[in-house]
Subunit: 174 residues, 2 copies
DNA sequence: GTCGAATGGACAGCTTACTGTCGATTGGGG
DNA sequence: CCCCAATCGACAGTAAGCTGTCCATTCGAC
């Protein structure tokens, strides 16, 4: 998405500008988290993406097929598929036959995958302790709630976006 | 980065878990914003990435070389370079000679680039009005502040990460 | 029982970020 | 004055997301 203009001249910061600032902050933090996550687990044979997939596997009560994992993560099937293929080739994950569907194998961690995942979590926890030191937990959870609310509204706004983008004129006057 | 485990059993949500939840929310919202931004400006010949680069150009008081724009955006030079090349090929942006450096041309918007950019902003504003409706602006700015604080701490934590990742043992005991 | 929709994987190709390496240009220290 | 460090662009290659198309499998409606 976009870039904010400088916040407003004199008055209260409009929700518009606050939203733009938030979008910028999300883009930057996304990059920072991925970069830091990669550095944190690099020597375990993991990356941020692999770690996230392992997390989705760990979170599920039973092994799932790739497409199901992708749905849980909010990603496209193929994105997860490639990561799983790579991890399978390196022995972090294995594919178990699915009694309910012949082609849709179930993805499960190997012992070495579990070991890497747990070491990753331990590192993340110690890292997070430093990052959140002195920040009120309530502030963090409030931010999480706000981000999730926006996420839900965005997911629900596809029709509105089509209107805004499709409307031939009328956008010159906002 | 990672995935949270379920939030804690009975007690207060630990900052650790809140942090994991925040990371997840940031990943998802990042994806949602990019997707929505792409849809919003698609017919203008823009993408979220192009729009952000144009924003960085618009924000600067004077035209800048690619490497400088990239620094301002927190991205790698090459990422911006390719987007600029594409936009130049399509006439959204033009390269002006740099009096101070023969090879480092200055990037400036063409009139058609400016037009697209302003239409994009108008759409974003109307979209943002809907998304933030009923949300207290203070909540948004508070979230922005939190995200920026974390961003700064992450940027400053590279040494710490190296310690956590490098320390051969000791991570089994957190 | 059969057909069709929903779901899943495979294959191919695109976008946007990254990295590393190279040569060109500039400007400052000795 | 010269050389070195910093900066910039070019080129090449990687990671991680996306899309679209195709075929296989399953399951439910009829």
């Amino acid at each position: 998405m976009p870039v904010s203009s400088a916040d407003p001249p004199g008055d209260r910061p409009s929700a518009r500008d606050a939203f733009s600032d938030l979008a910028l902050a999300v883009f930057r933090l996304n990059g920072g988290l991925i970069e830091a996550g990669d550095a944190l687990v690099q020597d375990l044979g993991l990356t941020s993406a692999r770690w996230q997939v392992l997390g989705a596997i760990a979170l599920a009560p039973a092994p799932l097929p790739v497409a199901h994992i992708a749905r849980n993560m909010g990603l496209a099937r193929q994105s997860v598929q490639r990561v799983v293929d790579d991890m399978q080739a390196e022995g972090l994950v294995r594919l178990a036959p699915n009694p309910h569907h012949r082609r849709a194998a179930l993805v499960a961690m190997t012992p070495s995958g579990e070991a890497a995942y747990h070491r990753a979590i331990a590192r993340k926890d110690r890292w997070a302790d430093g990052l959140t030191d002195g920040l009120p937990p309530a502030a963090i959870t409030a931010a999480v709630r706000l981000l999730r609310t926006l996420q839900e509204r965005i997911d629900a706004s596809h029709a509105h976006i089509a209107t805004l983008a499709g409307a031939p004129r009328q956008e010159s006057e906002e």
